[in-house]
Subunit: 141 residues, 4 copies
DNA sequence: GTGGTCTAGACCACT
DNA sequence: GTGGTCTAGACCACA
């Protein structure tokens, strides 16, 4: 489990941690129904106050992504978020746009951009097939 | 100029505003060298305190995306960030990955995802050709 | 920690505060890596709004002179600015010239001026040797 | 008459202009009793609103450095500011300290610093002897 | 009319 | 208790 945070970028730490855990789950590092590392474990790894990590877990629970069982630990939920197809696409479109905004600002030409996109998608497909890996070729963090 | 913010999502308002303005600039709503709407104008439109909008503008100035001229207004900078090709690709790859994470979590099938991506890229190309539009088919926000 | 400000001299308070803190750091009142007084503490001491002090601290952070850690405090950075020898000398020369301008305008004779300069340099040397003092013989402010 | 201003450094333009004019006067570009360039002339040269330049002249008049004669122009005052020797030294000491602060922060060694200082003082002496020059070796601006 | 500074004061994020 | 965000509102610097 790899968690990258940046204490200087203005976004609350607990949201960044939640985002990173989401990434790990999406990448298959922790499968549906499996247990997440403990709050203390994560706190120690990224040298952050345990309260902050606990808040990130609470955030994920609110989003229905994990379930906490008292005295046992935190587990990836088996339920799938219940939003409409349109809603789902809207969320993803917005994130894609963010990447394209930046690409345009950095004056990355269309063909190079297309190449990056297909390359990332391919990396994701492979990760899914091999049953999940922690990091990827993009050098996250 | 369309600015969508969500005062409940934990990310500071001023960062959201900065992000939205960045998007508008990337989409060509405001061309290089042109003037952005005034702080007060934006503040009124999205019913937010002018100080908060001013902070967003300052953030964009720090990022080198806009320039402010006292008593005159805020303008899109004509300078281009000077970073290496590798660096540029890394930044964009990371943003793409974030979108793909979310797509996977929402269990959007691969073909639908591919469709969304090509649809967004196409929207960007059109914006570039037509000289900039304000909104897009994704229904941002 | 002594901070002298003059709310009537036209220079924004937050810049004056930043300047004074810079002086204290240069004089060794707060060593590299050590913690600065809290925003609230300084605000109370000089009877200024905490937001104004916070802005001064943000200014120093932008200049790379201090680092802030949320929930912990603000600390003197241990990094050294990485500019060329020529650049460094240019910056200092300019500041020296400003002092000499004023000396000439006040018709301070050359020998008296030379005395003042060597006296200030000596005060700085002593501060360095004794490990930092708070005030100096010049009666700043 | 050379006037360097920086519209991004937070200090009001009119104070920067006043400071630069003071420098020119100190350097002997405009002698005691002589006429300064007109407000319009300066405004055009540095592309700043004439009102801003006028305010700088008003500031200098308040400080007793120039005199304005209606319909004629602005002249360097013949009077010498009437403050005590101690007061004068305090003002200059403070400016010297500012330069030394920066020198220390930039880790300029003591001997190099001493060399810069004596070099600047020498430049000033020469300017005084030759009857005044506009710029100096320090590359102001 | 445009952006900038400052205040007073509430509430949040984090240790 | 530390720094950060946000608001409401007064006043200043500048064109």
């Amino acid at each position: 489990m790899i968690i990258n945070i940046d204490s200087t970028d203005g976004i609350p730490l607990y949201l960044q941690i939640a985002q990173e855990l989401k990434h790990s789950i999406a990448m298959g590092s922790v499968l549906s129904g499996e247990q997440l590392p403990s709050v203390r474990e994560v706190a120690e790894q990224i040298t952050v106050n345990p309260n902050t990590v606990a808040k990130a877990y609470r955030e994920l629970e609110l989003q229905g992504i994990v379930e906490t069982r008292r005295g046992t630990g935190t587990f990836v939920a088996r339920t799938v978020p219940n939003i409409s197809k349109e809603e789902r696409e809207r969320v993803v479109s917005r994130l894609i746009d963010k990447a394209l905004d930046e690409a345009r600002r950095l004056q990355i030409p269309d063909d190079e951009l297309a190449h990056i996109v297909s390359e990332r998608i391919e990396a994701f497909r492979q990760a899914a097939e091999t049953g999940g890996v922690d990091s990827s070729a993009s050098g996250r963090g």
